[in-house]
Symmetry: C2
Subunit: 396 residues, 2 copies
């Protein structure tokens, strides 16, 4: 009676949520200090003070009707201008406000861009490891996901594999850097090679191929490693941004889609994405939070906290004999599963009250994800549990 | 290159927004006191004090990480329980928390329900006058809108016309009462006849037909007129609710979908709607506002303000010779256009600085909508302008 695809979307077990729920139950049973929940990628540092300051100021001094009324569907003009100005200031004159559409997080932006840019049968290139929802959106709108593996061990873009995947039907390529779940930042050199290949393919096939840059972790880069801005490399780029991690407000659903001003068929792209947002039931995002973002457009949460977590966790796990992908950004550690099937290993880890996520849903079943957006103390207390686990499985 | 349908969604001029923008420009030119903007259906009364009180309390005393983190996709369990309890308390034991899904306003709920419940080619019955976006969602997901006219003059459900429109392909029927734009509340008698016809059609065709009750204006009913609760009449009912008008927070995008516990294929309906929400890019709604709603679940904004506006406006316009549909609810007055084409009349009204909305987009081109969610003073100052307009066009 109902679409099997859509039913499955509603029924598919959410491994991460289930693990997190299990962790919650265990905490109630044996005390929160004895459970090490590395499952969920939700910021644990509070929003920077400017966020609540802006909210309190608006709630106490602004017109209570104006701050809660509908905004234009793409967002308040003043916010769109502030976002465009911030991008231009930081990365170059790539956008203006006509190409900024305020969305419910980066996911809202990805959904509308995929719905708008693809026709049924079009191909969308996705690199492993990948955010699960790319597949959901692609399939929901009738497009076809083409999964391309990255380099083993480094998880950098495998350019020859990418070139081989490009066909006449390729319409969109999604890049996510810093990457969830690997923490890898794609190098400028690989991005240059990837975009060169895309330019050649555009010529060969005679139509634009759009690059979707999913970058909720842009500000979470460590040790001064640069996160290349894709519009610098390729004109047919759309950036999907989120304030979830930057401002530690993931549950408030604020982000934007930014279309490069030099993008092919610019007006059509802007209109079709707006039409897609409308088709997806988007009326506008929170008026109050739009005003907050406008006041905090260049503010960033305490990234050093995550860096300290990363440093201690990576060293601790490597000392125990685990093999990790060195994370330059985001708040995830991608670890090679000591057993071929990470699902079995993650199940085993639960016996030590360690909740880590098997790589299956990210398309890399032999790895697992450890989210280090947790209290630093949790990491310190978890390392002995990892040590007992390592000993149990006979790790060198 | 792009879907013409989706491009058109993005390009279609928004008559209401355009009128409102025009009103803004005129206000800047000739002073706000000389412009009478009846275009937009956005509450002009502030949120009840409990809303800001709850926000301030949460912002100053709650854990700043917890109040902004991701919530489960369907919403915080405590909120879903509070909503279910409120429905059961007010209308009977129709729902529990498993059937409550917190959405971005009623539009979010309608979009997910239509995406989930329909397959391409299924028919969706929509009564005139209707909210424009019903057509957008229906067409975007490949279903077919079947427009059924209501009774002339009263805009009550025309049951024989409805029965004639039911086919083997009918999957969903949308009702919106109190109605935007007519302000009409469908009578219990007509609803009984409509749901009887639906039950007969379900038997005849051998599959469920779902009733989607779009009720953002439920609390805006005047003179004690009762708004029938459709789950009382029909088990295969889903309610799409919004806090936009109830709490005067339209820009914050909070509402819910409620599935009747006795609904056919209950678990499937719940799962397919959740899957649809996921496909539409929904991750969750604002965590903070979920907590606010939980604290304000039975609070309602100042409805008497709208009633006073209605009384003065209806009497004033009828005294001038205009023909109005008597609005029992919502904050809209539906007026017969003195000229056959309401578009031309609304254009004429602009010469008197009166911004009113032609009925074309609502499917009733010979009527026009006057939104009376405005300062009472605006109505008092507008009536002389309506009088000059009436005189100009030679109204009795």
């Amino acid at each position: 009676m109902f679409s099997k695809t859509i039913l499955d979307f509603g029924r598919k077990p959410n491994v991460i949520r289930d693990l997190s729920a299990y962790a919650g139950a265990r905490k109630a049973e044996i005390g929160p200090e004895n459970v090490f929940d590395f499952s969920i990628g939700s910021p644990n540092v509070p929003p920077p003070p400017q966020v609540h300051e802006a909210m309190l100021e608006l709630l106490t001094h602004a017109d209570p009707v104006a701050i809660h009324s509908y905004t234009p569907a793409p967002g308040l003009l003043s916010l769109r201008r502030a976002i465009a100005a911030s991008i231009c200031r930081r990365f170059g004159a790539h956008v203006d406000e006509t190409g900024i559409y305020v969305t419910a997080g980066a996911s809202g932006a990805i959904a509308m861009a995929l719905k708008g840019l693809t026709n049924p049968g079009d191909e969308v290139v996705i690199f492993t490891p990948h955010y699960m929802e790319y597949l959901i959106y692609t399939e929901a709108y009738g497009a076809v996901p083409v999964i391309v593996k990255t380099d083993p061990d480094t998880f950098q873009i495998d350019v020859p594999a990418f070139e081989a995947a490009l066909t006449e039907k390729t319409r969109v390529v999604i890049l996510n850097s810093p990457n969830n779940p690997s923490g890898v930042i794609y190098t400028a050199q690989r991005i240059r090679a990837l975009t060169d290949a895309m330019k050649a393919a555009e010529k060969r096939f005679g139509h634009p191929i759009y690059l979707l840059s999913d970058e909720p972790y842009r500000e979470l880069a460590y040790d001064g490693v640069e996160v290349p801005y894709l519009m610098d490399y390729y004109d047919d780029t759309l950036v999907c941004y989120s304030y979830s991690k930057t401002l530690s407000i993931p549950g408030e659903r604020m982000g934007y889609l930014a279309v490069c001003r030099r993008c092919a068929a610019y007006e059509d792209v802007v209109d079709v994405c707006a039409g897609a947002a409308r088709a997806l039931g988007h009326i506008c995002t929170s008026n109050l939070y739009q005003r907050v973002i406008e006041r905090c457009v260049d503010v960033v949460a305490d990234v050093d906290y995550y860096k300290r977590n990363r440093d201690v966790l990576v060293k601790g796990l490597e000392d125990l004999g685990f093999t990790c992908v060195h994370p330059d950004g985001a708040f995830y550690l991608f670890m090679k599963s000591p057993w071929p099937d990470s699902m079995a290993f993650c199940e085993k880890a639960k016996a030590y009250e360690l909740m880590v996520v098997p790589g299956h849903d990210f398309g890399v079943p032999e790895y697992l994800r450890v989210s280090y957006c947790v209290d630093h103390d949790t990491i310190l207390r978890a390392l002995p549990a990892f040590a007992r686990l390592a000993e149990d499985i006979g790790l060198a």
